[in-house]
Amino acid sequence: MSIATPTQNPQSYLAAQERWRPVEIVFWLAALLPFVLFPDYLTLASQIAITGLFALSLDLILGYAGIVSLGHAAFFGIGAYTAGVLTKYGWGEPITGLLISAAVAALAGYLSSLVIARFRHLALIMITLGLGLLLHEIANSAHWLTGGSDGLQGMQVWPLLGMFKFDLYGYTAYTYSLIVLLIVFVMARRLIHSPFGLALRGIRENWTRMPAIGANRQAHIRKIYTIAAAMAGVAGALLAQTVGTVSLEAISFGRSADVLVMLVLGGAGRLYGGIVGAMIFMIARDQFSGIAPQYWYFWIGLLLIAVVMLLPNGVLGGLSALINRWRSRS
């Protein structure tokens, strides 16, 4: 985390932060590589992009505003079920489906933010966990709507833009997920480098001081929580549309926990932390479970322990510490 030097005024600090760095451009260009280098892995790549988007949404509230959540999959699931139910009952157009899902998830996010904004730390963990479990149970008992534990069946997703069918190889799925990820990422990036984003970091760093300097803490938290919920909803809708079904797993505690693990792996409070974490987690899972389908969780656990012990700020935190040390030496 770079801190503004006294000589910089806030405007020029934010402007400097917002400039696109070459490494970022390289990163996004590299996201096109799977099309050429690994055309057999495009479905995995699309699910990494979707999970990365989900982790990014958690990063906004956890990494930037300091809201710990163990129930973020609730919004992912709401988005997924909204998109799924829409296509099931005759509206299979993907892009409008995505927007409607985002709106529904945002509404749910706003309603729960009224409670969330009043609490911190352990209480927050309990509340988000409770909300997540509650929604999971609702989805289970609303069997007529969600299909319950059998999963939502009968989704008919129309071709993207009326031209590109979701194919077996995942070309459409990855192109679609990647473009949506990029658009949402640019928006999140803009948000984080705005005065509002700075205020969020202020709330994270000093909860009591922000109201003292005139920031409306609860309004800020409500806002970012709603935005993060909408983003999670988009990720859920993307998964539903590219896979063609939704199960209770989309809204489960396991998904909330996994995304937290990914964020910690990649590095919370860094824009790319969630995406990098999702990449590491899902590629590791794919490779380890290919070697030994029974024991892959063991290796993920080992990886997590190693990262937390050796790189407390995640992989990206470790990398930037390394670069800083190298720079100061030369």
Partner: protein
């Protein structure tokens, strides 16, 4: 539009790849199962059945070598299952997809089977409608309604039950079981005096059992997931004084599985279940199957998951023999339709129309044989088709 051009080039390249793989002498079978997580036990049983079949019959069929590729979904995860199925087809170039402990995973992979025209063998997942998702799928395990509707009819007609109370777990399979039992019980002249749906992960059943007891029904039908719950509900029945000798207790085979019986103890005595397989089934083939399985699996008895894996491999082997090693979906499913063979559970057939299993449902009672609790078969209903799919066809 360069992206699209690259996409097209990739497609072309992989099509070439597929034909190259087929020219060689292997048949690749991709297994999608729950090797990790809470359903790992089921996958272990199924894998044991698959391995035993390959050990007994070798890995060569119709001049080709069978190669198995194992993939883990880690629980009910259709998004993972669908991705794995796509990857198996696109990357590993498998000819056949098989496995599936859980319904959502089988449903998701069925889409891929349909699109890629790949033969798909369902070795457990038991919801009826899966079969409608792909015309290249066949099921060798069981269907829920096959068991519950048979039991409901049997109870009302053969066992003299006139009134029944149903208690099921409140989730998909539980609701299907409730509907199946009630429908056939009523159709056969019985009366449902009440019903209750219980939370899925329920540790204590005494309140529910008490409610049932207050109505003093002549019989109770219950469906709950395996694991720790069967012992808990049997204990609750015993504690509340619901004696299977006075009130008939009906269930499906999951209720009195091997592990469940060990935990239930004598409170299980007299419970009547309908099921398609038990390791005590008396036949020569089953004795060999059980002995072979126990030898390779630390003396654990095979259950219905294991027999599903075993019969699934049999179907794959025999279908390949019939097509002389041809692996396209149309040829394989045509070969599988109507196939009939002797399984460790008895004679089974793949229905030529609905591609689903037709088999004998055994009615068993828990009894003490030689100091051990066993499911003793005392009646059976032969040639049971899945009633839901059969009705759809009409």
């Amino acid at each position: 539009m360069t992206l699209l051009r690259i996409a097209a080039a990739g497609l072309l390249a992989s099509t070439v790849g597929i034909s190259a793989a087929q020219a060689q002498g292997t048949v690749k079978v991709g297994l999608i199962m729950t090797y990790s997580g809470q359903f790992a036990d089921a996958a272990r049983q199924m894998d044991g059945g698959i391995k035993l079949y390959m050990k007994q019959h070798g890995d060569k069929v119709a001049g080709k070598t069978i190669e198995i590729i194992r993939k883990d979904t880690g629980g009910p995860a259709p998004d993972v299952a669908k991705r794995l199925a796509q990857e198996l087809v696109v990357r590993d170039k498998v000819d056949i997809i098989a496995g599936f402990v859980l319904t959502p995973n089988a449903m998701a992979a069925s889409d891929v089977s349909q699109e890629a025209k790949k033969f798909l063998v369902i070795m457990n997942a038991a919801t009826s409608v899966i079969m409608t998702k792909s015309q290249y799928s066949a099921r060798v395990s069981l269907t829920q309604s096959q068991v519950t509707e048979t039991l409901g009819k049997w109870a009302a007609t053969k066992d003299g039950a006139k009134k029944a109370y149903t208690m099921v777990s409140d989730y998909g399979p539980g609701l299907d079981a409730e509907a199946g039992f009630q429908k056939s019980f009523k159709a056969a002249g019985g009366e449902i005096v009440g019903s209750v749906r219980m939370p899925v992960a329920n540790p204590d059943f005494s309140a529910f059992v008490q409610r049932a007891k207050d109505l003093n029904p002549q019989s109770v039908f219950t469906f709950i997931p395996g694991g720790a719950q069967p012992a808990a509900i049997a204990k609750a029945f015993a504690e509340r004084g619901m004696d299977p000798k006075k009130t008939k207790i009906y269930g499906t085979g999951e209720l009195t599985g091997d592990d469940a019986l060990k935990n239930m103890g004598d409170s299980a005595l007299g419970i009547i279940t309908a099921w398609h397989y038990d390791h005590n089934h008396d036949s020569k083939l089953n004795k060999e199957f059980v002995a072979g399985f126990r030898k390779d699996n630390n003396n654990i008895n095979p259950n219905f998951f294991a027999v599903g894996g075993y019969d699934g491999m049999h179907l794959i082997y025999e279908a390949l023999k019939k097509t002389s090693g041809k692996t396209d979906g149309d040829a394989l499913i045509a070969a599988a339709k109507g196939m009939s063979w002797e399984s460790p559970r008895g004679k089974i057939t793949i229905d030529p129309e609905i591609r689903d299993i037709v088999q004998t449902i055994y009615i068993r009672r828990v009894e003490k044989v030689g100091g051990e609790l066993k499911n003793v078969e005392f009646d059976k209903v032969e040639n049971v088709k899945d009633p839901i799919l059969a009705a759809m066809k009409k």
